[in-house]
């Protein structure tokens, strides 16, 4: 049997609620986006219900410590279709077992979540490292990114705490939303870009007068810090995979 949900986190949690209500036996969870009806498979469409979702989440909070709630959330943010099903199976497994069942690394759903969470955390960490702000003429530090996973919710606090005295915008170009820190709070925003503007690195005319100087100084620094006698391109690319180069001022 297949459960279909709307792709939201409350939707996923509602699915768990419904399963315990109905106990229909083995179920696979799929999001509506990728669902393709199969001829003989039975399916059930979950109607997202925030009360039911809250109850499941509260239940999970009782069963799991913080680190595992985080792994759960990260796996969800991976947006990987199979991850949704693993989350669903993991949750039913946790509810049906004694406290502590999440440390059973012999269980395939436990391992799957640990892996998704690891990839998402890695992407989060990379964004914290590889984001390069440009100081715009309006005094805002701007960057456009397109991370593999939906990591904005995870990086928000890091940037808010660190850059508490400057306004900044981090825009997810793939998911078409961003975060704006206005010196007090972080707000979700959407931007309508002018036609033809480079969203990743907007043109110099839009920038603060000193922006170019510091970008050049940083590039210079990057070159000077290299020790030619130690060149090791393989290792370099391993640490900074090519797909991130477009973010990096020093690589442009």
């Amino acid at each position: 049997m297949t459960y279909i949900f709307d792709g939201s986190l409350p939707g996923l949690l509602t699915a768990v609620f419904e399963w315990f209500e109905r106990k229909p036996g083995k179920v696979t969870l799929k999001s509506i986006e990728i669902f393709q009806p199969e001829a003989f498979a039975e399916c059930f469409t979950v109607t997202t219900n925030s009360e039911k979702a809250d109850r499941v989440w509260a239940g999970l909070q009782k069963k799991l410590k913080k680190d595992w709630l985080r792994k759960f959330y990260c796996s969800y943010l991976s947006e990987i279709p199979e991850a949704f099903n693993h989350l669903f199976q993991f949750t039913t497994y946790i509810f049906q077992n004694e406290k502590g069942a999440e440390s059973n690394y012999g269980n395939e759903h436990v391992i799957a979540l640990a892996k998704y969470a690891k990839s998402v955390e890695r992407e989060k960490h990379r964004m914290e490292a590889f984001i390069r702000f440009q100081h715009t003429a309006d005094g805002i530090f701007y960057t456009g990114i397109d991370p593999d996973f939906n990591v904005l919710p995870l990086i928000s606090n890091h940037f808010k705490n660190r850059y508490a005295d400057q306004q900044w915008i981090i825009y997810d170009l793939k998911r078409k939303y961003g975060l704006h820190y206005n010196l007090n709070t972080v707000e979700e925003i959407t931007i309508s870009f002018t036609e033809g503007v480079n969203k990743q690195k907007p043109a110099a005319v839009l920038m603060d007068a000193k922006e170019e100087l510091y970008a050049v100084l940083w590039k210079d620094y990057f070159k000077s810090a290299n020790i030619v006698a130690r060149k090791n391109t393989k290792l370099h690319v391993q640490h900074v995979p090519r797909r991130y180069w477009k973010y990096l001022t020093e690589k442009l």
Partner: protein
Amino acid sequence: MSDRIREKLNILADAAKYDVSCSSSGGTRKNDNKGVGNSHTSGICHTYTEDGRCVSLLKILLTNHCIYDCLFCVSRKSNDVKRAAFTVDEVVELTMNFYRRNYIEGLFLSSGIFKNADFTMERLLLVCKKLRLEQRYNGYIHLKMIPGASDELIKEAGLYADRMSINLEMPTEAGLKLLAPEKSHADVIKPLGFVQQNIVQFAEDKKLIKHVPKFVPAGQSTQMVIGATPESDKDIMYTANAFYKNFALKRVYYSGYVPISNDSRMPILGTQPPLLRENRLYQTDWLMRFYGFKVQELLNDANPNLDVDIDPKLSWAIRNMQHFPVDINKADYRMILRIPGIGVMSAQKIVQARKFGKLRIDQLKKIGVSYNRAKHFITCADSPYQLKDYQGTQIKAFIMAESQSKYLKTDSNQMILF
């Protein structure tokens, strides 16, 4: 103006790069005055140089003018290089502007010695004070101590820096004397000891008084240059071990010597830096710090140098086959950590997971064990029956046949260690 600052940055970053420490970890500073910056406990590498080293700090010298003539150093007095000096404000501006753009985690500031030690140290201190007090900057600061600077200056600097360091340079006193007759290990031991005492004192005060300022919260580190002088790996690691113990150092760095001089006492120009050896030393360092190995187990009179073909953990296992095979489902954590192919994370997962039932090979693989390597040293629920008692040397041959290219080509001080 911009050309001059570019030139200075090129000269003073170039001269600073031989200090390999780049770590921005261990800081605890929070941004609680609504200024800019904070420390990330595990540090962040913002980029990597083309030689694969992490870049997290703006690492520069205040100046490369120097009154000393240490042979291993590019800034030595007798070396014919361009000289430059930043003003205090230039360093502050650069740091702030790089930091605000998320280029860096902070500043690593060192300097050649001009006029005298205190004169130099005063200026380094001034940079730190301006950053912290005027700019409300809470990012990371790694400050080099100038050998011979007064206790007062060093103590004051400790109130603003996150990490302080001073380099041993050569692993033994004899090596140092050979290349820098004016210097001695005592010049390094004194400030390290002084700062360590103060760290302990501040921690004591903190128990009694609520608001004690931070003092070098990320601790101290040092660096040794490897391969410029003829010390054995044992000499190097025994020195490192002693400094870890005596001064509670956070890190010891090993920097493969990059030839920069034609002096006959040193490897000639063009000699390849000993990168593989450097990597093996870092692996040994990790085994001492995170895997519960004593340095004497890894290096001793019978084995004064590390094996180049294989990593030191595998090398230890092969010399000590009497401890193997280890039963994954029974052995204690300490022993599981010692199995080649199993890292700290996997070891922890194994100990947790086996409470739920005996572990099988496929589960070990999923947990992240490098099974092809570990299989020679373990038994688990479904281990195949083995024609027992391979000699250590045979196992070494098996493993090398499988992984030779990988292990001979990697070199990094950020390696993943099994």
